[in-house]
């Protein structure tokens, strides 16, 4: 089936999800063209109402809400994406190596991951951030490291079932090195579940970073970020104004969309039709 027919046959939820993801990516890429004002530019009074010059009003410091939402797409999505890629590079590679090498390398890495996973992720992140301080770099590194443990588990489990197959044995007997085994033999056969997992992990990281920013411990001001935008403007909610909910809605919409798409991909690749 060509890609086009597959897309046409996709369920409504997956089409919706793909459309939203595309929209977000476009907004993130062309943020300066979409946003009427600058990211940190103070353009008016604080908490101005909707309409007129400011499409969605202004925030607590008088910055344009709509512009900050647009720039937030770029910052929050970018950082979450970078973190997920790092987590996959680290966790995925270690997982594949553990499965291929086996023995004490596997044992050692698995036990370390077990211990790291015994601590709740949010608590662990808070502990480390309190020590190293809340900069964007440390945020990305800490979350990538913590998330890599989950990726490690999955990629090791998937690779385990590939490693025992004859063609891997044949490659080993040919005397191929570790790098060849990982990239040419195991990875192509473990790709499908890993891609679906990438979507799920991205959602998780995205929610995680938003939660940390909401707690004031994630992406630091004046960078526009959806989590901290909710936090800064939350006081408006008590007056019945919905604008602080917009960034939260933006977070919810993208995670729902990614989940819809992942659900469809998983359903298709498993070949299962639920009875």
């Amino acid at each position: 089936m060509s890609l086009y027919t597959q897309l046409r046959r996709a369920p409504l939820s997956a089409k919706f999800g793909l459309l939203v993801i595309l929209l977000y990516v476009l907004v993130a890429l062309f943020a300066p063209l979409v946003a009427p004002f600058g990211e940190t530019e103070v353009v008016g009074e604080g908490f101005a109402p909707w309409g007129g010059q400011f499409l969605l009003g202004t925030d607590n410091l008088g910055r344009d809400m709509f512009s900050r939402l647009v720039y937030g797409a770029r910052n929050t999505l970018g950082i979450a994406f970078l973190t997920t890629v790092l987590a996959f590079a680290l966790g995925g590679f270690c997982g594949l190596v553990a499965a291929i090498r086996g023995g004490w390398i596997d044992q050692g890495m698995s036990r370390v991951v077990d211990i790291l996973m015994a601590i709740p992720q949010l608590i662990f992140a808070l502990l480390i951030l309190s020590v190293v301080g809340t900069t964007t770099t440390s945020l990305v590194l800490v979350i990538a490291l913590l998330d890599a443990t989950r990726v490690f588990r999955l990629s090791r489990a998937v690779a385990m079932s590939v490693v025992v197959q004859d063609f891997v044995e044949a490659a080993r007997l040919r005397g191929e090195g570790l790098w060849w085994l990982v990239t040419r033999e195991v990875l192509p056969n473990a790709a499908a579940p890993l891609i679906a997992e990438f979507g799920l992990r991205f959602c998780f990281v995205f929610l995680f970073i938003s939660a940390l920013s909401f707690l004031g411990l994630g992406i630091q001001p004046p960078t526009a970020d959806w989590g901290s935008m909710v936090r800064d403007n939350a006081v408006l909610i008590t007056f019945g104004d919905v604008s602080p909910l917009l960034p939260a809605l933006a977070v919810a919409l993208i995670t729902v969309s990614v989940n819809f798409v992942v659900d469809w991909v998983l359903h298709k690749s498993s070949g299962l039709k639920e009875c």
Partner: protein, 319 residues
């Protein structure tokens, strides 16, 4: 029976081991500070003499291993040390908050577990109907919502528009039970909504998995009704995965309280933790993390133990 005991003992030992490992990690986290605690407490402007004096007072001149055992021994005696920010004993800071946090998580569990199991069973019973689709889509959406989004929507609807409930849950010690319940209703609702979705999906998945097995087919061919098949034949076998899911979600609940407490200004442990991280009050962060991590490990271990204990196949090992 013997092998069952052995398996259980193994799990418990593993739980204890991870607890030890976690406490070592939490202890070592402080060692990663640039400089050390004494430097961090006094700030950049401190003279070398005062830093040295404080270091001596805190016992930082001792080797790390000695300090770890000292710290662990004091922990076991209930002495959590003093806060860097206000010099008060940490046990005093944590005391009442610990109870608040656990009662919040417990209330959320009491609401969400029965609801999730019921919805999961109904979804499995009427699978692929519009009811199931609706539940599934809304569960998938609920899982993807950040907790603070759910919380603020509830505040907007129930506290601001309808004005039925207070939007913040500042408990005072002399509040009556009714008052406490009223004030913690919104946080409980938020937490429940977040975990119900997950539990429901997994209950449905494990039941549907079972419904495809031959002995259910047999029961169906005998002409037994749908409801009886679910409750009599499928459910006892689905118990192990369901118990596991429930315990895992309770573990999640313990961590989920952090964000919810901040939104509702609920005087719990999570809020203390977040405040202390912002202030970099490391002994308090250590103590709170240790409590959260210990609860988490305890619940995870009991999930393992329960799922082993509720699996009838392990009661009668072959050979």
């Amino acid at each position: 029976m013997n092998s069952l005991c052995k398996l259980l003992a193994q799990r418990l030992a593993l739980g204890l081991l991870s607890l030890l490992a976690v406490s070592v990690i939490i202890f070592l986290a402080v060692g990663m500070l640039p400089g050390d605690v004494a430097q961090a407490m006094l700030g950049q402007a401190a003279t070398p003499e005062t830093v040295a004096a404080l270091r001596l007072q805190l016992g930082l001149d001792q080797p790390a291993l000695t300090r770890f055992f000292h710290w662990g021994w004091q922990l076991l005696q209930g002495d959590l040390g003093v806060s860097l920010a206000n010099q008060r004993p940490i046990a005093e800071l944590i005391g009442a908050r610990l109870g608040n946090t656990f009662s919040l998580a417990l209330l959320a569990a009491l609401v969400s577990v029965p609801l999730a199991l019921l919805l999961g069973m109904l979804a499995a019973l009427y699978r692929n109907s519009w009811f199931d689709r609706l539940l599934n889509t809304s569960a998938l959406s609920a899982v993807s919502f950040p907790e603070f989004f759910v919380a603020y929507i509830l505040i907007l609807v129930f506290a601001v528009k309808l004005a039925w409930l207070p939007s913040i849950s500042n408990l005072s010690p002399d509040a009556s039970l009714g008052e406490v319940l009223e004030r913690s209703l919104l946080p409980v609702l938020t937490l429940s909504l977040v975990v119900v979705a997950q539990m429901m999906r997994m209950t449905r998945a494990s039941l549907i998995n079972l419904l495809a097995s031959p002995y259910i087919e047999m029961a169906r061919l005998k002409g037994i009704g749908q409801a009886r098949i679910i409750f009599r034949h499928a459910l006892p076998n689905a118990l192990a995965p369901i118990v596991n899911v429930v315990a895992l979600n309770l573990a999640y609940l313990v961590v989920g309280v952090v964000v919810v407490e901040v939104v509702f200004v609920y005087p719990g442990l999570g809020q203390l933790l977040v405040d202390s991280v912002a202030k970099r009050d490391i002994p308090v962060v250590q103590a709170c993390s240790l409590i959260f991590a210990a609860t988490y490990i305890l619940l995870n271990t009991s999930a393992d133990v329960l799922s082993i204990a509720s699996n009838p196949r392990l009661m009668h090992p072959k050979g």
